[in-house]
Structures are given as C-alpha cells and as structure tokens.
Amino acid sequence: MLRSNLPLVIVFTTALLLIVAFFIPHKPFGDLESRFLNWYAIVSGFTFLLGIDSLTRHHLLRVRRRVPGWLYSLILLLGLFVTLFLGFYSWVKFRSPFALQAPFMWLYTYMIIPLQSTMFATLAFFIVSAAYRAFRIRNFAATLLLCAACLVMLGNTPLGGDVWQALGRFIHLVLPSVDPAAFAALEVPAQVKDWLMSIPQAAAVRGIGIGLALGGIAMSLRIILGIERTYMSS
C-alpha cells in the first residue's frame, strides 16, 4: 500500500509546491523550481551510471557471444573507455577536459563533431526521398502540399526571384507598357511565401500548439491526481 501510494503523495506535493512557487516569488517559494531542477540534475547525473552499465553489458554480451557485427561492439567499447580515460587524463593534467590543448578536446573536435556533422548531412538525402513520396500527386491534399511546397521553395531561393524577373522581361516583350523593373520589385514569390508561412502555416501550428497546451494540462492533472500511473509501472 505504502509502496504504491508514497510516489503519488510525492508527485502531488511536488506539483502543488511548483504550481504555488510559480505565482509566489517570496522566499522560500521563489527559488523552489531552480532548486528542484538542481536536484533533478544531480539525480540524472548519477543515472548515467545506469546508462553506462546498460551499454557496457549489452556490448560485452555481443562480443562474448560473437554475434554478427560483434567487432562494432568491440570498437564501441574501446571508444567508450578511451574517451573516458582521455577525459580523466585531461581533467587531471589541464584541470578541465574542455581545455583547448587537452586530448579530450582534440577527440571532441576532430572525431565527435565530424561524425555528428556527417550524420546530420545525411538528412539532406532523406529529405529528398521523403519529399518525393510526400509530393507524389495521389489526392487533393497531396497536390495542395506539392503546390504550397513549390511556392515556398521558390520564395526562399534566388531562383524564385530570377524566374519572376524573367517573367517580367517576357511580359515586357509582349506588352511594352509593363516596366520590367517595377514588375521585378513586386517580388511576388517572396510575398506569396511570406503569406503562406505567416497566415495558413502559422494558424495551423498555433492550432496544434493550443491543443498541445491543453492536452499537456490535462495530462499533468491526470498525473498530479494519480489518475495516470503508467510512469510508475502500475
């Protein structure tokens, strides 16, 4: 009974204190939020030991069982412990692992950052393949999406301006009374893009945002009142 009710009491009391603290700046309420966040940071710092334990066990098991790809697990374990060793070494020798001349910083600058950037760069290719599927004309909604995306892309790139200027010159050839410079100054692709982004797009995002805020409040109330308990596996 106590095992299941105590967490609920802690959650309810903590939530109530934080809600009260949001409206009362006077001590001891004013700095409660930052105090709780500090506690959370300390607790979560220690839980990284759990993470390292999980990671090490998982990959040691793979290496021991020689499952396909076990060499990658070995490289991961080596990488983990070399990084850990260099971090401690830099801390002792340079007083901080983030000192510019520290080997840990070298590892960070010349290995971790390029690897992160490489992974991020693959996003460009994935965007193309996802966009191809999303923009295939299957129904009215997909067609609308394709048209809106094309207009936004034209408005966001120099190509849109170039196309608009070329159109101005072409119209000038057909109708000499149209001034191509004045036509170009209208910047219709950029205007259309701005309208799409600031009116329909912003309205949709705000609508979703309002729903999310209300859903968040409802979910929080369910947690505070102990109605939603899955987070404590019950």
Binding site: I19, F22, F23, I24, P25, H26, K27, G30, S44, T47, F48, L49, L50, G51, I52, S54, L55, R57, H58, P68, G69, I112, L115, Q116, M119, F120, T122, L123, F126, I127, S129, A130, A131, R133, A134, V205, G207, I208, G209, I210, G211, L212, L214, G215, G216, I217, A218, M219, S220, L221, R222, I223, L225, I227, E228, T230, Y231, M232, S233, S234
Partner: protein, 381 residues
C-alpha cells in the same frame, strides 16, 4: 574619491537625465530596486549612464552600475530588503558628467504574489476547474464519447504484421526525458505494445537516449509482460541505453533498424532533426511506422515518412483511448470543452480586432476594449 567625483555636477554641455524614478523591483524575491529615466540624446559614441546609490539623500553616492545610451532602466540587484536607498543617474560622455537629482528613499521587498501572472492564474483555475468538473461528472457515471484515433487503431495491425513476418518491434522515445509530458504520455502506449508483444511472442526493442527513460521503459515492459502471463519473455538487454548524443542516437537506431529489420516501428516521444533520418531508414526496411510527437516542427517529416502520425494532443489522449475509464474520459471531455471555448473566444477577439482596425474606428471605445483584452491575454504584445 569616485563618489565625490560623481557627486559634483559638471555642466559641460551635458544635460542631466530627466524623469529619474526608483521603486522596488516588482514581482521578485526582493533584494532589487528598479531605476528608470527618460532617454537623453546621445551626443558622442562614449555616452553612457552611470547609476549612483547612497544610503543618504545628500551624500555618499557611489556607482552601482552603468548602461549604454540606448537603455533607460537599470535593476540594482544588490540591495538589502527594508534598507532605504537614494538613487541618481549621471549622463557621462568622456570626462564630462551631468548628474540628476537624487530620488528616494526606496526600499526593496519580496512579494507574496506575482501580479504579472494574474491572467495565468485565472486561466489555470478556469481550465483546471473545467477538467475537475468533467472528471467528477464522469465519476457519477455520465457516458462520454471518444472519437477514433486512426494511429492507435493501427497498433494491432502493425504488431500482427511484424509477428507474421517473424520480425521484432522497435519503440523509440526519441530524445525525450522523463520530465517531458509526451514521454510520460507514451508510456501507456509502450505498455499496450509490450502486452501484445508478449501475447504474440514477438521481441520488443526499446533503444533509449536517457538512462531514466530507459529504466522507466524497462519497468513498464517488465510489468506488462507479467500482466500478460509471460514474465519469462522479458529481456532487459532489449531495452538498452544507446547515447544521449542526438546524431549518435540516430546512428545507433539506424544501425538497429538495418540489422534487425523490425516489422513495426513506433516513434512516440520527443524528436528533433534526427526524426526523418530514423523514420526514412525505417521506411527503407519496409516497416509499418506509427509516429506521435509534440514537436510540431518534426510532424511534417513523420507525416511524409510514416504510415500513421498522431498529430498534436492525440498522443496525450492515447492513454484515455487505451483505458476508456470514466475519469480518463472526463479529463478528455474537459479538454475538448475548453478547446471549444478557446475557439469561440479567439474568433471573437479576432473579429473585435478586425472591426477596431477599420478606418474611423481606430480611436473608438471598441479599439480601446480590444487593446485591453489583447493586452490581458498576451501582455508581451
């Protein structure tokens, strides 16, 4: 020496700052005084304001801070509550100084209520009241309807397909922490998926980016397997920690997807730029994918790459949908009612603002009403 220097008013073309006022900094924990003044015309590049403080009205002024010419306020955050202080502001340009008259006494104090958040308090009370009203109503046995959520209905199909193909199921919370409500909202879905996975004897993989989320996921899956009568099926090694690094996590999950080729993938949690990298990899191995996130910037990527996407608060409603008990549905009903009220209010305020902006009505009482209402709803604007 410095104080004496500033106390002397040197008139060398500089005009002392006008409209100097000092008051207790509002809505704070105390120990702060807010000093304001009117903008002077900055004559040189070196022009700045020096704020002076003294425990007496006529002597002992010492600088406590300075501000560039564009600023017209300064918060002295080093005061003792209840102690009287006098302030003056000096305009300084090179060696020239022109000091204003002293203002005071002013005492700093902590406040028991943040008046700037009155509107939030009122809305919170109203919103919470509506939720509690509908929860109480549901407890009394009033029947409530909940609309179908296609994404949630597809869970069984996705799990059945993975089982038929003899492939595992993958579940990811993304980069969410346990402090994110969306992660807590995704836990009941993980529980449902774990129960089905135990029923179908299909392995469930949950790579995590946060050790606390990993622990919560392990406990949820273990409990779900026990509830399904298959505690022996639980393998803690399937719910493991990868890394908290964004793209390291994406690389790790992509590796798992390409090696294990899951038949069903659930992306439910907090995602950033890595969302598409992972979801497209999932698509490339032919998995049925269901996504749900509160991160609106990632929704288009999931819509493009996944078979089903829960948009907006649908993921929050999932636990009510899966456990349609009266109290759960009551909170959902409360949410919908407030949404309806907000739609009506938003439409009314937009209409009011539009009418008030019409030529000839801009100085009318209608425009003033709109300003007050809009200012109350969003003071920053």
């Amino acid at each position: 020496m410095m104080a004496a220097f500033f106390f002397v008013l040197i008139a060398a073309g500089l005009v002392p700052p006008a409209g100097v006022a000092a008051r207790d900094n509002p809505n704070d924990q105390g120990s702060a005084v807010l000093i304001t003044w009117s903008a002077s015309e900055a004559e040189t590049a070196s022009f700045r304001y020096v704020i002076l403080r003294s425990p007496a009205s006529d002597t002992g002024f010492a600088p406590v801070g300075d501000e560039p010419s564009a600023r017209t306020e300064f918060t002295d955050q080093d005061t003792r509550d209840g102690t009287p202080y006098w302030y003056a502001v000096a305009a300084v340009s090179g060696a020239d100084t022109a000091r204003s008259a002293a203002v005071g006494p002013v005492r700093s104090a902590a406040q028991w209520f943040n008046t700037a958040r009155t509107n939030i308090l009122i809305v919170t009370v109203l919103v919470s009241g509506a939720f509690l009203f509908y929860i109480a109503r549901a407890r009394r046995g009033v029947k409530m309807f909940v609309r179908k959520i296609a994404g949630l209905d597809s869970i069984d199909d996705a799990l059945g397909r993975a089982t038929e193909m003899g492939k595992p199921i993958l579940f990811s919370f993304g980069l969410g922490y346990i402090t994110d409500i969306v992660v807590i909202a995704a836990l009941p879905l993980l529980r449902k998926i774990a129960m089905k996975s135990a029923e179908y004897a299909t392995p469930l993989l949950v790579p995590s980016s946060d050790p606390i989320v990993m622990t919560a996921a392990q406990e949820t899956v273990k409990e779900a397997y026990s509830a399904s009568g298959r505690p022996d099926f639980y393998n803690a090694d399937n719910i493991n920690f990868l890394t908290s690094d964004q793209f390291g996590y994406a690389a790790g999950v992509d590796g798992i997807i390409l090696r294990e080729k899951p038949g069903a993938i659930f992306w439910l949690g907090y995602f950033y730029a890595e969302s598409l990298i992972m979801a497209e990899t999932g698509h490339s191995v032919g998995a049925i994918q269901l996504a749900g996130t509160t991160e609106t910037t990632q929704l288009p990527f999931f819509v493009a790459a996944c078979d089903y996407t829960m948009i907006g608060e649908e993921i929050y409603a999932a636990s009510c949908y899966l456990r349609p008990e009266p109290v759960m549905l009551g909170s959902l009903k409360g949410e919908d009612t407030i949404k309806l009220v907000l739609i009506i209010l938003t439409t009314a305020v937009v209409a009011l603002g539009t009418v008030a902006a019409l030529p000839g009505l801009r100085a009318s009482p209608l425009a003033r009403v709109y300003e007050v209402v809009a200012g109350w709803i969003a003071p920053a604007y």
